[in-house]
Symmetry: D2
Subunit: 338 residues, 4 copies
């Protein structure tokens, strides 16, 4: 069967580049058209994309992200890696035009008619009774890490509060992103809008299943790839520590019971070693090929009477962005929705 | 009046070096004798001290840290920057021999007969009715930052719990300390014994005034100087946000009402800017000379119904170590105790 | 006597900020007016300057860098820290309008009627027979370091060639400058136009005294402040190694025989230790106050039959930029030229 | 045919670990025995090796590096990654006992009866008329990069001198190696013995074909993997610039005309882009699997009348160490010598 033709908007940034490279070897999708701001339009994709792309894609001519133009082009589905608020309107217009839109952009994530999906948690929302044109968003990079990292133990428990401190890699800010004069030998204790995203999106992903207050502090550390998060979860009930650790170990892929190209062998990997996970050692956990970088690594699990403290690591570019956009599309594809 | 003659044990490490440099310009103290392990004994201090020292001290001959020897030497007081557990016995022997010992070492901090002092909080414990030989310890670097950063708002309030995540500089591990292969482009989510120290020492410093549970996660980031801490404080009561911010602003020097050479102008400095404090910009806050690096910087204060989230920065080498050892001694000196 | 009123163009960048701070305590100069691009014009200086400024200067209103406007304002001299090619025309117009212009910008450095000064080498060119309006430029940051570092040994010798590799700090690229995604854990083997600047400017500074070929390779390393340069100098003659080392040690301030506020105690400092100079340890060498960061540090001197290899360090922001602009002006001031 | 049984001495360090992982998938070799200092002896390899190893090797019990013991064990060939001078005697004893020894250690490289091989340059020295026990060494990491990077253009030309400045990654110093307090935000302008190694080894590798003087300055930069080198080559003759670039492009694998598992597709890769090669982008150049990291990347080629300046990058752990040790052994294996 022919692969679906992907139209990629926001194609020239850090995440767009990564999506193009991941698609190049994908069993379901192929890159058909690349879109970007008018600054890049008309140029060869290979000449303007940050971080390079698959050799055969280099000669694609970048087109302007105009919804009308995109609608006229031969695209089966749309991937969006647009990094600013312009994503909102473009994605909406494309969905209205009947396209399935899978987006990493934050603009529409909290909209009522947009699915915000972390497949292992709520991938069942991607179902056949969706109308033809739609937007399916993955969460913010830190949110995805947090959601997956806590999912194994919050099911069926009443959570009182979650306190999370993130130590985020500079690649999360795109390119040129964080100036090196700010980043080297330093920590910046603030990332714009990030804390609100974590609090709002996490709540939406878990829907009614998580009523806890969430307190997030987000910081930027001199690391290129891999967001580390220190998480404190407080429950209403007491429990057995062994039970908690066991739940992490047996989590597997959450509610997903079949394979997908970008679904890691285990979505949550647990470390016993005190000094793990680390960005440099664990950002590519999950498997090989498309699965690499798709697992969230959890370590330093410390259980008290009614609380769990842990540290988790999420590859902000793969599981936290490009790979999650892809995985959402794979689920829709395999489910016969697109 | 003559300056007190200081015997410095653990003199060749990162903190010992710093104490020697700070003493060089001190109005009360002068460096008389330097002690270290037998590996350095017999050599010139300037040849073995990490990070250098004051020019005139370079020719001091390092002696072995033998309590008997130290007792025989002409020392008025002892400063201890010993980095390992050997500190415990040496300090105790010197106190028994009648010396006032001011220590940055962790070995004796939690002992019942040792004062663990953060002067702005409990400096009044340093009093004339102490016996002649004694040990006064300052806290662990992260603990001092945390204690000072929360002191303005926990007085008179009932605290339910404190959740703290630290992002600690590599200098906190001494020299050679953290291998660069581990540190560069990475975060290590664990520092041995550090979390327990924070939890136990904080409780001791506040004595009965803080009965909260404390949850600490300590990490190492690729920063040379300055520990950043993200703190979540949860109270039993609700309160007015403005009141909280006001309490930080008017904290001054806590219970200290007179000047000391190493006491900063304000012990807690509050930032309104979202992106502060930062290790690179705020590690030397506090004033000039001996006061530089002695203030704890607090920012990102976010108040909800009954909780406060904030980020604080402590210079781990100065306020978190050498400077606090000195300040404790200054209080004893000015109080006529030594 | 009243201080000269400085008009500072390019005032909001990394170097402009530094000039403003250095002027704040200057015995000859005071900051009167600050200029920048129209993006910043009309705003308070303190709100738009990168890296802050002296408290009392914060309320200065930034004006647009329009030569006519600047001429009408009450300025005695002009300092230029403009970072792009616009500097060329503005500086020239101001000189034509009769202003003495001291510039860190590269635009006019190689112009015939512009003095390119490293005071210890050719400061005697700043003389009373200059016409009223003029431009005096300091060299590029790497060039200043190289020129000073070789000056002690090339006088009176015939140099065959100079091969220099620079390892430059990111602050040399201004702000936002080098993206952290490029800088962290990496070396970038190219800095635009830098190699040509080094080759051309060095030749102009030494005028006829250096006819050697110069081969420069310039790289960017993950360091914030301090350019390190590995230099190979090859002479036509053989010589005695001891003689070379002696020439470095006795260099003093080159041809300058009187004091100036920003002239370091010794313009070239020589290290015997194998592991020096280092950016983190030696960038502030030169003295205290305005002299700090004004010395070039030289180490690893290795002499063979007719060649000298060495490593030098120059503080790219102070000696390599702001401080050199100031020193040039001090010489003109003390010489009665302005 | 059965794979050769490898005895690996110096097995627990950075390079030893890498050799073990590379052997795990090797068509000719398999890891039979691991040796290390008595500190690690008796423990499981997986528990003491820095940086991990192939899963099935984890249970190997580390034995002490005693030549008699090693001789008695069932080993077909010896790989040595010993990091200190002890390598000298051990390797010699094993060669005397009849073992073919392939070593990354520096101890014996310059010995007359030891081959110092960079296969593309002098791999033809590995020949059938060698006696049974022997030592074949690869060069120092920087030397290998330099030798390969200049080989394309020095053949048949008379070289007057070579000036090289290295910017070396911290992994070159092993583990724990460079303290992060020294490395972060800094450059250290000295690496012990490194400059002499480069000068002496390069001369030996090229035997009579390179009589130039070599001036090396070696520095350590805050980069984990990948040594960058700025090289200036001066010839006695003039030449056509195009000719030089062409020689780099057509170099291929030098004198090697057949395939080997660890021989890259092209041993020297040439970049036209000004900002390449970079450690973060080019350290894994060479191909996939065992070939990854085996190519030297050359860029910024600037040709003048009779000189060539260039920048080269060598993966210090793979091409500069483990991979070169392996490649030497592959040549001996395929040549029927072992």
């Amino acid at each position: 069967m022919d692969k679906l033709r992907v139209g990629l908007i926001g194609s020239t940034g850090v995440v767009g580049s990564l999506i193009s490279k991941m698609i190049s070897a994908h069993p379901y999708f192929d890159l058909a058209n690349v879109y970007a701001s008018d600054r890049s339009a008309g140029q060869k994709y290979g000449d303007v994309v940050y971080g390079g792309t698959y050799e055969p894609y280099k000669d694609l001519i970048v087109r302007e992200s105009d919804p009308d133009q995109i609608s006229r082009d031969h695209n089966d589905i749309i991937f969006s890696a647009v990094s600013d608020d312009k994503a909102g309107l473009i994605e909406r217009r494309l969905a209205e035009a009947g396209f399935p839109v899978f987006t990493n952009a934050s603009a529409n994530r909290l909209e009522d008619d947009v699915l915000l999906i972390v497949p292992e948690i709520n991938g069942d929302l991607i179902s056949r009774n969706m109308k033809k044109g739609f937007i399916i968003a993955n969460g913010n990079c830190s949110t995805i890490g947090l959601s997956l990292g806590i999912d194994p133990v919050i099911r069926g428990r009443s959570v009182r509060e979650i306190v999370v401190t993130t130590m985020q890699a500079v690649s999360g800010a795109g390119y040129p992103g964080v100036p090196s004069l700010d980043a080297i030998n330093n920590v910046i204790p603030y990332i714009q809008k990030e804390e609100t995203k974590i609090e709002m999106e996490t709540r939406k992903i878990f829907a009614g299943k998580l009523n806890a207050e969430i307190f997030a502090t987000t910081t930027r550390v001199p690391v290129k790839i891999g967001h580390l998060e220190a998480v404190h979860i407080e429950f209403e009930q007491k429990f057995d520590p062994d039970e908690i650790v066991e739940e992490f170990r047996t989590y597997g892929n959450g509610i997903l019971k079949t394979e997908f190209p970008s679904l890691p062998e285990k979505s949550v990997i647990v470390f016993n070693e005190n000094n793990r996970p680390q960005p440099e050692l664990d950002s590519m956990n999950g498997g090989t090929g498309l699965k690499a970088g798709m697992a969230v690594s959890v370590g330093r699990i410390r259980v008290r009477e009614n609380s769990v403290d842990l540290v988790l690591l999420v590859n902000n570019l793969i599981r936290g962005a490009a790979g999650s956009t892809l995985l959402n599309a794979e689920i829709a594809y395999k489910g016969g929705i697109i």
